[in-house]
Symmetry: C2
Subunit: 285 residues, 2 copies
């Protein structure tokens, strides 16, 4: 029996259509337009592609593209000054500093200048603290996108034995917290975990964000489990994930492909975060 393939492209398109509709309602109700200030320092080609995709999606959702581009040799205090301006600019709902920044700049210190109300990437210490405390705040996009995917396929989470492989700041840790907040019973695995396959076989929901290609094979998957693959590796055969897709497909109940699974959700949730930030700034819930 072959797993149902979770269609991240389709779910992301629905989220983006919902956001576009809600942006139109927001504009009609408030007379204001949500705006996303993407900040790119330097000319890294990959970063330029990522930023381009975010800007295009932003415009398609009816939000203002308030992109800022600084030369690669911009000094730390100049980048900080720009972020501080954006922080107080009422036209700016969300701020996204594209990482990595050029060598010589302290990206972590720059990120901390973004106020939590505009932190649409959910990366500042304040946003991370709000998530860890279970308080309202903007959540990081990829972890939120994973929850959105699970919800789109009606995967039950409350009381569900769930395993997260990986404890990265960007995905593993925050998705674990979001899953715990949804009342899943969550086990966090990592490079020190003994008998990873056995631990994973206990999961009805398995989220793999290990950053190691094909680390999860069929022996690590409970028959019928839902498997979310956050990995993204460029190989000669094309993009591959952390999951051995052909093998796991024969065991899992549902499975995300790479590409076309988690990937498209990240931009969709960035748009939703920008709308949420605009709403909160306007005093709407």
């Amino acid at each position: 029996m072959s797993a149902e393939i979770i269609d991240g492209k389709a779910v992301a398109a629905r989220v983006r259509a919902d956001v576009a509709r809600e942006v139109a309602e927001f504009r009609a109700a408030t007379g204001r337009q949500p705006g996303l200030a993407t900040v790119l320092v330097g000319d890294d080609p990959a970063s330029a592609v990522y930023i381009g995709g975010k800007r295009k999606a932003c415009v398609e959702a009816g939000m203002a593209d308030l992109h800022q581009h600084l030369p690669a040799d911009t000094a730390q205090d100049k980048v900080a000054a720009l972020l501080d301006e954006l922080a107080v600019d009422p036209a700016v709902s969300g701020i996204l500093l594209q990482l990595p920044v050029p060598a010589g700049l302290d990206g972590a210190a720059l990120i901390e200048r973004i106020p939590s109300g505009k932190d649409v990437d959910g990366l500042t210490t304040a946003s991370v603290g709000l998530l860890a405390r279970g308080l309202p705040g903007l959540r990081p996009c990829t972890p939120s996108g994973i929850i959105e995917l699970l919800d789109a396929y009606d995967v039950p989470l409350a009381g569900t034995p769930t395993v997260v492989v990986g404890r990265s700041e960007l995905v593993g840790r925050p998705v674990s917290q979001l899953l715990i907040a949804r009342n899943a019973t969550v086990t966090v695995c990592h490079s020190h975990t003994r008998d990873l396959a056995e631990v994973c076989r206990g999961a009805d929901v398995l989220v793999v964000a290990a950053g190691r290609q094909a680390i999860i094979g069929a022996d690590a998957v409970k028959p019928g489990a839902t498997v979310i693959d956050v990995g993204m590796h460029r190989t000669e055969q094309g993009l591959r994930g952390d999951v051995d897709f052909p093998a796991v497909r024969e065991v899992a109940g549902r499975l995300t492909p790479v590409p076309g699974g988690v990937g498209p959700m990240t931009i969709a949730l960035l748009l939703r975060n920008t709308l949420l930030a605009a709403r909160a700034a306007a005093g709407l819930s």
Copy 2:
């Protein structure tokens, strides 16, 4: 076979003696004395007892007792103003606002005024964010005390299947993160967990912070496991924990008693946090 009883009183006494020695070294090296500002609003008898114990321990460790007592009817902005003064006072290494504050005051908002460098309880959003990100910062006392107990008994954590029962802000969540940072494989359980006993039986280290008396019986403990009981319930038979002590004692390899297990560690770690804060403020590591 009966479990080894983990002697929290003895470990706490060692930590406090270590802190006292290091405070003396700090004073000799810098000419400054670490100081703890406990803040009590009102006259709740239980709070007065807790604060009294903290102040006494502070003096015994050679640190300055900078206690502040405000009447129960103090307005929010007056308490806030006091906390702001303490925040900039160089004699104050650490600030502890005793909770709960009287009805009518917003304790959560008051706590947030404590700068993370003086947040010896580790309760502010900033401190929680630093812990969740794995960055340096002051950690909450009871969770740190649990790690200290495990270390005192040479309990291996790296790669160890570990279960935490409870996801409270004060204990469950932060101790899970501390255990993950120590490379344990951590499962977080809570009221929605299915077959709690079975999940717990998978643990070599079991930390119980559920807040429900005797929720963990012998059937929930792997033979030889180390069991840490964070519960504290006043009963007609005396203080009891979240673990059925007589039954679990016959199965576990090591077990904390209630009282005399985790309890004494909390004040010991508060003292250590105050010293760490004083060192950081003095530019020492």
